[in-house]
């Protein structure tokens, strides 16, 4: 091959018509910028949310149990090289000397810098930093309100008197079922010996908090030591575990962002392909001439491959830069509109991804049409023919590589071969459908051509099938574009509805605990007098597990082959009974028995996790110790508790007709509209029934709510941003289509068609293309979002049709508008000038 000539020609050919070249490059730049910006936003927002979710736990990992952590384990923990804080949690009576009252409290004695994420909110704010410097206590705000305590009052914990240093507005810990309802009090760890509270038999939890370097994978670390933790009755919680409550929100977010990333790739591809394909088309005649003058087909191929490759690299670099700039500048521009501050930094992985995918897609999409360069006949110099260039069998190889790259990209997103394969097939099907619609359109307009229609209509419609028509390219790109817009629109709506449902706005935030049965009516009327809803009002019976599967608890504890942890076995069971299952729970197996028939077999319902913890199966026998009385029961049904709801969740449910006579109290769950109402309500309840405690979940919920707000915001933002980029890509590929149309329009012009006629002819063509492709795209999007909602997001598919109709009309209007704009360009220029340029 004559390389110097190839390079020379490639360069020379690029000098003329720089403006055209810039237009083609801009399309690639835009596509790559979209890819980089979208992925960069993804990375930043996800990182931000991760950080926030860590503040639920306050650390990367907690390790704890009801005995001090064994030294052997501590040594292994040391190897993590982590920052560490310790906490001793005690349940004890406290004494309030100023009002001579006692209150059962949860004392948290801390050393170290915990919390590592988030803040312990106190009033005054400085108290959270200074309480460890002396004999001070931070006391739960709710408890202080309840007893009218002020900062500076004292509280006696064990043998030691603590001045109250501040009000505790937030606390750390799980929102889960095991939450203890005693109000928290924070003190410095070093005072514990002086309180003399730790006695044999006292209820103590030991917890260590760890903060590790970014690179450490704690979940792996944990998994490798699972057996050991189980045997030493130690509980290890990572941020990942803690997120359980937000699991749905996070998995929805993650799936959605994956879809957005894929869409960014598709947008990049449409952008790159539409420009490269048309670019090659404009070069066909030049190639024919070069071939005629004796250039070998490989050389002709190389000239344009080199040219496009060089332009591609340049555009991709510019695109990466532009994407990074957009990503950094946009949040600054939008600052006033953001619900929270996001620290945006350039994401290197996103840049690399953008670069690689940009080069790959430019090369592959250029390769397809360029391969046919090799088959461009020199005969084209003698006869202007618009015969489709012979297709090259190597094209299939290129197509295969494109499909493989998409599958590879999907695999890198989902880390699942089957997901990648299924989604790739989905995309292929979408393409195939659009392709077939295009084929059908050309075939059908030719076959059922309205021969008697007006000149304008006939010309416009015949544009759809005439040689060198743009039906296929435009139907595929408009169809894909409108499909993407619709899909994003539908999905974000579905997911937002679901995620916001999890937010604190709809969640109860107060639990009244310890109501006697005969106080039930009064409690209900107090709640109603505050205009607060009774979200849940249920009886609770505490009991202990006495044995199961025919063996007693003692026998089980001695059994070395058991898998159940000591903790699960010893845990006090908080049981409720009800005639009907909670509608938020999901029945997995068996049938829920609501009313006991008086026979021998009491059929209870257990949560799946509880079943797994004890290795139980449907029908197994369990014996309970209810304050000295043994009750034998059988597993009648298995449920999956919906942890998204913050109402009181019961692992164990009895039917009615068994526990009514057992010692019990009631729990009432409600929702307070404001802090003030919470305080007033608390006072009213405590005055009427001193035995009840009112627990405010507001502080925990506010963190949760923060996260939910962010998740919804990220979804909205990414959807909006991608829709915007999608539109720009769509518009630019429509603009590019003018190069394909110039010759036809000019010819008509030369033949004497007046401006108005050309506009109308083009309007007919673009309207037909717009309607058909938008319709196809929207139908594809409906099918796609239905499948995604059902199988990926597991959401109910209900959508409103008006906005979708709006999208349809908008796309058709946009297509026609740009079509007219394109013809304006032709009409305004003199036919002579264009003839020479063609």
């Amino acid at each position: 091959m004559n390389w110097s000539l190839i390079i020379k020609t490639a360069f020379r050919d690029s000098r003329k018509d720089r403006s055209k070249l810039v237009l083609f490059m801009s399309s690639i730049i835009l596509g790559v910028a979209a890819l980089v910006a979208i992925n960069s936003f993804n990375d930043n927002l996800v990182r931000d949310i991760e950080l926030q979710s860590k503040s639920l736990l306050g650390a990367d990992m907690t390790v704890g149990g009801n005995r001090p952590i064994p030294d052997s384990l501590l040594m292994s923990l040391d190897s993590l090289n982590a920052e560490q804080s310790t906490e001793i949690e005690l349940f004890s009576m406290s004494f309030l000397p100023s009002i001579e009252q006692s209150q059962f409290v949860r004392i948290k004695a801390l050393t170290g810098d915990f919390p590592y994420y988030g803040n312990l909110l106190t009033e005054p704010a400085s108290a959270s930093n200074t309480y460890k410097s002396g004999v001070y206590a931070l006391v739960d705000d709710g408890m202080m309100l309840q007893y009218g305590l002020e900062v500076g009052d004292s509280i006696k914990l064990g043998e030691l008197m603590f001045p109250i240093h501040g009000r505790l507005l937030t606390s750390f810990g799980s929102v889960g079922a095991g939450t203890s309802f005693a109000p928290p009090i924070y003190i410095a760890g070093k005072h514990i010996p002086a309180t003399d509270l730790i006695q044999p038999g006292s209820l103590v939890n030991y917890t260590n908090y760890y903060k590790v370097d970014n690179g450490t994978n704690l979940d792996e670390w944990k998994r490798a030591r699972r057996e050991r933790f189980r045997n030493s009755a130690i509980r290890v919680t990572t941020v990942e575990d803690q997120r359980e409550n937000l699991e749905r929100a996070f998995s929805n977010l993650n799936d959605f962002l994956n879809i957005v990333a894929l869409i960014s790739l598709l947008l990049a591809c449409i952008s790159v392909a539409s420009s490269v394909l048309i670019y090659v088309k404009t070069k066909v005649q030049s190639i024919a001439i070069l071939r005629c003058l004796g250039m070998k087909s490989e050389e002709a191929f190389m000239v344009y491959f080199l040219q496009i490759f060089a332009l591609g690299i340049l555009s991709v670099i510019l695109g990466v830069a532009l994407g990074s700039i957009i990503q950094v500048v946009l949040p600054i521009v939008l600052k006033g509109f953001l619900p929270y501050e996001v620290t945006m930094s350039v994401s290197l992985p996103a840049m690399i991804k953008g670069f690689v995918m940009g080069i790959l897609s430019t090369t592959l999409f250029a390769l397809g049409p360029l391969l046919s360069v090799r088959n461009i006949s020199p005969l084209k110099t003698l006869r202007i023919s618009d015969d489709p260039v012979k297709t090259d069998p190597l094209r299939w190889l290129v197509y295969g590589m494109i499909v493989l790259s998409i599958a590879g990209f999907l695999y890198s997103l989902t880390k699942s071969v089957s997901d990648a394969v299924v989604s790739t097939i989905g995309i292929l099907v979408a393409f195939l459908v659009l392709f077939m619609v295009a084929k059908f359109v050309t075939w059908a307009t030719r076959k059922y051509f309205p021969k008697k229609a007006s000149f304008v209509l006939r010309q416009g419609l015949s544009n759809l099938y005439r040689p060198n028509n743009q039906t296929q390219t435009l139907i595929v790109s408009i169809g894909l574009g409108s499909g993407i817009l619709t899909l994003l629109f539908i999905l974000q709506g579905l997911i937002l509805a679901n995620v916001e449902d999890m937010g604190a706005g709809n969640q109860p935030n107060m639990i009244v605990f310890g109501i006697e049965n005969d106080q039930d009516a009064e409690m209900q009327s107090i709640t109603k007098s505050f205009d607060m809803p009774i979200i849940q009002n249920v009886p609770v019976v505490t009991m202990e597990l006495a044995g199961w599967q025919g063996k007693t608890k003692k026998e089980w504890l001695r059994d070395t082959t058991r898998t159940a942890s000591r903790r699960t076995i010893n845990r006090e069971a908080r049981v409720s009974y009800r005639a009907e299952m909670d509608e938020d729970d999901e029945l997995i197996a068996g049938t829920y028995t609501g009313v006991h028939d008086g026979g021998d077999s009491i059929l209870i319902s257990l949560d799946q996790r509880y079943m797994d913890g004890l290795d139980l199966e449907l029908g197994d026998e369990l014996v309970w110790n209810v304050q000295g009385t043994l009750i034998k029961s059988y597993v009648g049904s298995i449920r999956k508790i919906n942890f998204r709801k913050l109402t009181s969740r019961f692992f164990i449910l009895f039917p009615t007709g068994v526990l009514e006579a057992a010692p019990q109290f009631r729990i009432l769950v409600t929702k307070s509209p404001s802090k003030q109402v919470t305080a007033d309500f608390r006072n009213a309840v405590v005055k009427a029934m001193p035995n009840a405690s009112v627990i405010d979940l507001g502080s925990i919920l506010s963190t949760l709510n923060d996260i939910i707000t962010k998740v919804s915001y990220v979804i909205k933002f990414m959807a909006g941003f991608s829709i915007l980029i999608g539109l720009i890509v769509l518009i630019s590929s429509l603009f590019l289509s003018k190069f394909q149309r110039i010759r036809e329009s000019v010819l008509l012009r030369t033949l004497g068609a007046v401006e108005k006629k050309i506009y109308r002819i083009n309007a007919v063509e673009y309207a037909a293309l717009g309607i058909l492709s938008a319709l196809t795209g929207i139908i594809l999007a409906l099918v796609g979002s239905y499948l995604l909602a059902k199988f990926v997001f597991e959401l109910e598919f209900n959508i409103s049709w008006w906005p979708i109709l709006g999208i349809f009309i908008f796309i058709v209007a946009l297509t026609v508008a740009i079509g007219l704009w394109n013809s304006r360009d032709v009409v305004k220029r003199s036919p002579l000038e264009i003839l020479r340029n063609v």
Binding site: K8, R12, S286, C292, L293, G294, I384
Partner: protein, 231 residues
């Protein structure tokens, strides 16, 4: 003998019928001859020229060009042959729109791997066709006659043994056409090239040595006109 066509058939298959465009064509051209192929539009002139120049392949028959059998050659071999021994002039000029006049003229030389001296030679030829001052202009900046003169310069730049011209004046007005014609014949005389001109312009045809008449894909007459070979 530089060109020989033996029993050439060319048929196009359309959807349901076969169209015989060239029907048993036989002729040969000697070195240095100037031949006009004439005939009504659609008679197969361009098709025949495309075949002889190795731009297309016949449905059947054998073609010898510059001593090589092009019927058996593959596309790249034909391309190479065209580059070394053939020059072209087209009705619609076919200059590369993105290259300057000079670069267009240089292309055949550069394709031969002879970049040295290519520029001087190309400039020389442009000078010869009266466009020395326009060498850095793009085709879009030239008139039709000027473009055709550039393409003349290009056709002669690789010193072809045989030159094919398809309606070289077809797109030009009479006056400009005449200038191009004269240049063509002058250059041809200088370089002693074989020249095959397809035309329906009888005045032009009469300036050649020999006229082959085509009609309906068949040669209907083939006569030499020795008397008026020069003007």
């Amino acid at each position: 003998m530089i060109l020989e066509a033996k029993e050439i058939f060319k048929t196009y298959k359309s959807v349901n019928k076969e169209l015989t465009v060239l029907d048993n064509i036989n002729f040969h051209v000697e070195k240095g001859e100037i031949v006009a192929i004439v005939g009504p539009s659609g008679s197969g002139k361009t098709t025949l020229l495309g075949l002889c120049a190795g731009l297309d392949s016949p449905t059947s028959g054998a073609l010898q060009l510059a001593g090589e059998g092009i019927s058996q050659m593959n596309e790249n071999e034909k391309a190479d042959l065209r580059n070394r021994k053939v020059g072209f002039i087209f009705q619609n000029f076919q200059l590369l729109p993105t290259l300057t006049a000079l670069e267009n003229v240089m292309i055949p030389l550069e394709l031969q791997g002879r970049p040295k001296g290519a520029e001087a030679k190309a400039l020389d030829l442009l000078e010869r066709v009266g466009l020395g001052g326009r060498s850095h202009h793009y085709p879009s900046q030239l008139s039709g006659g000027e473009m055709q003169r550039v393409s003349l310069a290009r056709a002669f730049s690789n010193d072809p043994e045989i030159l094919f011209a398809d309606e070289p004046t077809g797109n030009l007005d009479e006056e400009t056409g005449l200038i191009v014609e004269n240049l063509l014949f002058d250059l041809n005389k200088e370089k002693q090239t074989t020249l095959i001109i397809v035309t329906h312009d009888l005045d032009l045809a009469n300036k050649t040595d020999r006229i082959i008449k085509l009609k309906g894909g068949k040669i209907v007459s083939d006569q030499s006109i020795k008397s008026s070979s020069t003007i």
